[in-house]
Amino acid sequence: MRSALALPRIDLVLCTRCGVCVSLCPGHAVEMADEGPHFARPLDCTYCAECEATCPAGAIRCEYAIVWAEDPPSPGGDRCTTS
């Protein structure tokens, strides 16, 4: 089953904890924790990719698969949101 809600992927190895994504997320979906940014309010993320565009470390990815309309939902279950 496809995940109900895909979220941007944050690479905590690349992330410098600068907080840009937290300040610039229009939906205030991201918060900073000790281990780095995380999705405190995932439902508020609109997948607008503002965080990906502004992350100075290139640590955030909003990924798209390109599929045909007749294609069945992708297998693989939940997508991880951080790595």
């Binding site: 895909a6 997948y47 990906e52 100075p56 990924e63 798209y64 698969a65 599929v67 294609d71 997508r79």
Partner: protein
């Protein structure tokens, strides 16, 4: 005016230069700290210096006639900005620059940079090499752009890369698509929305769904 020579290690362009050149650069470079949101330079103003990001990130942008900010790139650690106009006599800043987060920069005045190039051919050659690489990239870009509209190229790209039942799926960010098509992510974002509005694709959060293959083919041939 001078900076700790070790700061030059953070700029790949300077890393391979002989010691005397690095020492001379350290003599003329000034460290500058800019707070988040601080405007570092204004496009169109006479160019006074080239900058190199030591820490943080700097947004390079232009204000379009419609008043919209067009982000050209974000300069991150190790990368220069405002370098090209600094190499010219009487050059003007190509674009404005603003710190995205608190940032540390090395600033080298245009006058000093050109003076050192006269003294140290190694420095001139290093900068030329960098500029030649940028020119190569721009030449390729112009060639691609002149062949087809972005929308057409995007349509072709989606047709070529749409997958069926493939596991694991190849996934793309807007930046990666932009890089493939020789453009920037803003343009891809607008192109995708235009294709959605035309009813050719749907955007479903993490999927770009091709709903009208013939329509996209027609679009790609425009």
């Amino acid at each position: 005016m001078s900076c700790d020579e070790r700061l030059l290690d953070r700029v790949p362009l300077f890393a391979g230069l002989p010691a005397p050149v690095r020492a001379a650069l350290a003599q003329v470079a000034t460290e500058r700290v800019s707070g988040a949101g601080e405007l570092i330079l204004l496009g169109g103003e006479p160019c006074e210096a080239a900058y190199f990001v030591i820490e943080g990130a700097v947004r390079i942008f232009r204000d379009s006639l419609s008043g919209r900010q067009q982000v050209l790139t974000t300069a991150v650690r190790g990368t220069p900005f405002n370098l090209v106009p600094a190499l010219r006599t009487g050059g003007a800043n190509h674009a404005s620059a603003e710190a995205v987060v608190a940032s540390r920069l090395l600033q080298i005045s245009s006058h000093d940079l050109r003076r050192l190039i006269r003294l140290y051919p190694d420095l001139g050659l290093t900068l030329l090499d960098d500029l030649a690489g940028k020119l190569d990239h721009l030449t390729d870009l112009v060639e691609t752009i002149s062949l087809r509209s972005v929308r057409g190229r995007l349509a072709r790209f989606l047709l070529d890369n749409a997958e069926k039942d493939q596991v694991p799926r190849r996934v793309w960010t807007q930046d990666e698509i932009a890089a493939r098509l020789g453009t920037v992510r803003d343009v891809i974002g607008r192109g995708l929305r235009a294709l959605v509005d035309a009813g050719l694709i749907q955007l479903d959060r993490e999927r770009i769904i091709v709903v009208d293959r013939e329509g996209l083919v027609a679009e790609s041939n425009l």
